[in-house]
Amino acid sequence: MPRVPLAASQAVVDHGFIAVRAKLIDVAAFLDRVERHGVAGDFRCAALREAAALLVDGQPERARRILELLSDPTTEPELKSSGKAALGAWPRPASATVAPLPSL
C-alpha cells in the first residue's frame, strides 16, 4: 500500500463526505419512491435493501461484498442470451432468501 501523508487522510473525509452524503440520501429517496409507487417488490429493489444492510454490519470490504451480493452466483454458461443489457441485480429463483419488504 502506498505511503500517504496523514494530512491527506483527513482530505478523504473533507473532499468525499458531501458527495457521498448526497448519494446516500438518493438511496433513501429511491427506496421511499419505489414504495410510494407500489413497486418495492421488484427483485432489484429487494436486492438493494439487502445490499444496504451490508453498509452497517461493521465488516470491511463493503464495496466488494455488495458487488458479490448483486452478482449472478452460478457458474455454467447460459444456453442463450436473454438480451444485450444486464439488469444490475441477479433475479433469484423464488426459493432463494431475499430481504423482506419493510412493513408499511
Partner: protein, 272 residues
C-alpha cells in the same frame, strides 16, 4: 501531467473531445473495436468499421497531434450469430498488419453465453497464432463476476496465452484481485454511473497496489467522460499521492503493457 488513454471509443466522440484530451495531457489514445449500439448486418459492415479504426480515426486524431492506436475484433455483444462471427473473424488477420493495430480486442463476454464463449475462444486462438496482445472486456453489472471467472478459466487453460500480454478490463472490487492473482493486467474503467468512479479506482490502487493496472475512460456513445483519467489524477493528488505515483499509473503502466507490441511507439516530445 501526461497520460495515456488506453481505451477510448473515439469514433463516438467529437473533435472537441480530442482537443480537450490533448489539452489535459493525453499523449496517446488506443481504441478497441466495440458494439456500435446496433447489430451490424454483414461482414462488410465490420470491414468498413475496421477501416475507420485504422485509416480515418488515426488521421482525425493526428490533427490534434495525438497518436491513435486500435485493437481489432468482433465484440461479444455481436457474438451470438456464429455464422456471421466466422465471416468477420476471417477478415481480422488482414487488419492486424495495419501500422496502428496493437492486438485483438476488446473480446470477452457480455451475457456469458455458450456462443459468446465459442467466439472468445476463436479470438484467443487467432491472437496466439498471430502473436498479438489481447484486450478483454468483462461483462456488466450482475454478469461481471461469473463472466470474469469464465474468462480467467478459458485463458488459463490455453497453453499459448501469456498472462503478461493480456489485459482484462472493467475490473471492480470483486474481480480485480482474481485477475491480478492469475498474472494478468487489470484495467479499471472510470464511468459516471457504472463500473468505477475515480475515488473507488484510487481505493483499489491503495488496496491492491499499482503494478499491472491501467485506468481508462472507455468513452463512447453512452454516458461517459473522455477526461475521466486526468480527473482521477486529481483524486490521487488530493489523497497525498505523489506526482511520480500518478505518472506511474496513468502513463508508465499503460506504456509498459502496450510497448510489448513493437508498433506502439511515441514521439520523443510525448515520451519525455
Amino acid at each position: 501531467m501526461r497520460y495515456i488513454e488506453p481505451h477510448g471509443h473515439m469514433v463516438s466522440r467529437t473533435t472537441d473531445d480530442y482537443q480537450a484530451m490533448v489539452t489535459a495531457g493525453c499523449v496517446a489514445v488506443c481504441e478497441p473495436a466495440f458494439w456500435a449500439g446496433f447489430d451490424r448486418g454483414s461482414a462488410a459492415g465490420f470491414r468498413d468499421y475496421y477501416r475507420q479504426l485504422t485509416e480515418y480515426e488515426p488521421a482525425r486524431a493526428a490533427k490534434f497531434l495525438l497518436p491513435h492506436f486500435s485493437w481489432i475484433c468482433l465484440n461479444p455483444k455481436e457474438a451470438e450469430d456464429l455464422s456471421l462471427a466466422r465471416d468477420v473473424l476471417a477478415l481480422i488477420p488482414e487488419f492486424l498488419q495495419r501500422p496502428n493495430v496493437l492486438g485483438i480486442g476488446e473480446i470477452g463476454l457480455n451475457r456469458n453465453t455458450r456462443n459468446e464463449l465459442t467466439v472468445l475462444e476463436q479470438h484467443v486462438e487467432l491472437a496466439v497464432k498471430h502473436d498479438q496482445l489481447i484486450l478483454v472486456h468483462t461483462p456488466h453489472l450482475e454478469d461481471k463476476l461469473k463472466g470474469t471467472q469464465l474468462i480467467l478459466d478459458l485463458l488459463g487453460s490455453h497453453r499459448g496465452v501469456k498472462p503478461e500480454r493480456v489485459i482484462i478490463d472493467h475490473v471492480e472490487e470483486h474481480t480485480i484481485q482474481r485477475v491480478l492473482d492469475r498474472g494478468f493486467w487489470a484495467g479499471i474503467t472510470l464511468y459516471p454511473d457504472s463500473k468505477s468512479s475515480p475515488p473507488r479506482a484510487v481505493d483499489m490502487l491503495e488496496i491492491c497496489g499499482r503494478e499491472r493496472i491501467w485506468m481508462n475512460s472507455a468513452c463512447d456513445w453512452g454516458v461517459s467522460d473522455p477526461l475521466a483519467v486526468p480527473k482521477t489524477a486529481l483524486e490521487m493528488r488530493r489523497r497525498g499521492h505523489s506526482a511520480e505515483f500518478v505518472d506511474a499509473v496513468l502513463y508508465a503502466n499503460p506504456h509498459r503493457f502496450l510497448s510489448q507490441c513493437p508498433k506502439f511507439r511515441l514521439g520523443q516530445s510525448f515520451s519525455g
